[in-house]
Symmetry: C2
């Protein structure tokens, strides 16, 4: 069976995204680095969150993609509805502390502030339920699916700041995907230290009419206030237009890496 | 005396950045929102971290700047050297758990992984020392100054991934600053949903020869995969060139806000 590693405990959103791909064996990992290591060592594929529509980029994923040999082979978009979950029989009024992954706490920040809950960051949404089992007056933020898996009680549903809440995941594999006609390509590059250098890179995509979906900047280690830029654009790296653009981009950058071309995901 | 609110406990890096401004009264706050609220209600100035040269942007600060009425009046850059701190007399080998702010844990990720420490996120570097006082076999990551303030022992110094580690802070006030000749301006805007729209915005700065120092994208709430862009450029908003550029930018964007013009900080 197709083996997919993910960060977190069984019941996490990453696992839900993996299961949406069909019949898969999911492998829980403590950290995102661990997921990348499994894929690099040929132990299967991985699925990693890259961006949430409320809270923004999962920057560690970006950093790991740059340094790893893995390629992005697919995009999966998962609708996220967070639940406040606690031990069966617990009264909402007795809750003081709420555990979850920092991303989930961020997505529910308004709710937590209004109820004056103490938000405590953990490694994982589903994994937080184990902590709650051991501590009275605590709750966790995780999915409905996680609540069921751990036999816990849902006190409230849909507690994130906006109902329009989606997380984008990348499936990471040894190779990226063949063209399907509805693809995206992710790249990372750094520019020369000249005024207008980012502009001159984006110019290539504008002139080639390649639609940019997302731009992200990350610091370069050891070079304060220098950045790597991550771009997602519509198209496959094997398309004539993309090929030409990437060739031109190589001339205007000091570092360029294609992270993969893959079928576009859909919000669902 | 000049009153400056900061996030964290006494001894935090934000407080250190505040003190570098001269004789000030520092006011600790639990969250970044609290710092903004104090400034908005006329209770003094604030100082907030905006970016670290290893770990990247403090995205919550970006979000708060967009929604708040405060202005950026100064940039402060602080060299950050993290220490592993514990109770006096504790053996390095007995340490299992390490507490600190997620930003500091991220900056020291390699060190923590090599020593196989469990990294536990908290609200604050200095505040973590209080937790360590109550728990055997634990340590915290904070500054040398914090270790002294809390009478704790430093086990190791400079444990971050790179010695070139700086954090940029913004002083936030009711108004921004007058031109000094060595200024920066921070803005936030969103573009129309058209291919090349970010490129057409950056074009203005390239043509005006205004040097872009930093670009950051943040999701727009309720509009998945739409972004606000944050730009820092060299120059003061009152300069003729900047004025013209901002006027032109207004035409090409659907939302534009100047977050402030302020004297540039220096790495120190």
């Amino acid at each position: 069976m197709r083996k997919i590693a993910f960060q977190g405990a069984h019941g996490s959103y990453s696992e839900e995204a993996a299961i949406s791909l069909g019949e898969v064996e999911t492998v829980p990992c403590r950290t995102l680095s661990d997921v990348f290591e499994i894929v690099e060592s040929g132990g299967g594929e991985g699925i990693v969150p890259v961006e949430n529509s409320i809270e923004g980029s999962i920057v560690r994923t970006y950093d790991l993609l740059k340094d790893s040999t893995v390629q992005i082979s697919r995009e999966v978009i998962l609708k996220i509805s967070h639940c406040l979950i606690t031990n069966p029989g617990t009264d909402l009024k007795s809750i003081r502390r709420v555990y979850s992954h920092p991303q989930a706490l961020g997505q529910c920040e308004q709710y937590l502030r209004e109820l004056n809950y103490e938000a405590l960051p953990t490694y994982d949404t589903a994994g937080s339920l184990e902590l709650v089992k051991r501590e009275k007056g605590s709750a966790a933020i995780a999915s409905e699916r996680a609540a069921k898996m751990y036999d816990m009680e849902i006190l409230e549903k849909g507690i994130q700041m906006s109902p329009e809440n989606y997380t984008r995941f990348f499936v990471i594999s040894a190779h990226d995907a063949d063209p399907t006609g509805a693809d995206k390509t992710s790249i990372v590059f750094s520019t020369k230290h000249l005024p207008g250098s980012l502009y001159h890179c984006l110019e290539i995509f504008a002139k080639a009419e390649l639609n940019l979906m997302k731009i992200e900047s990350r610091p370069i280690l050891g070079q304060p206030w220098s950045y790597n830029f991550y771009l997602d654009f519509e198209g496959h790296k094997a398309d004539a237009g993309s090929k030409k653009a990437l060739k031109e981009l190589k001339k205007r950058t000091i570092f360029l890496k294609v992270l993969g071309s893959y079928p576009k995901g859909v919000n669902r």
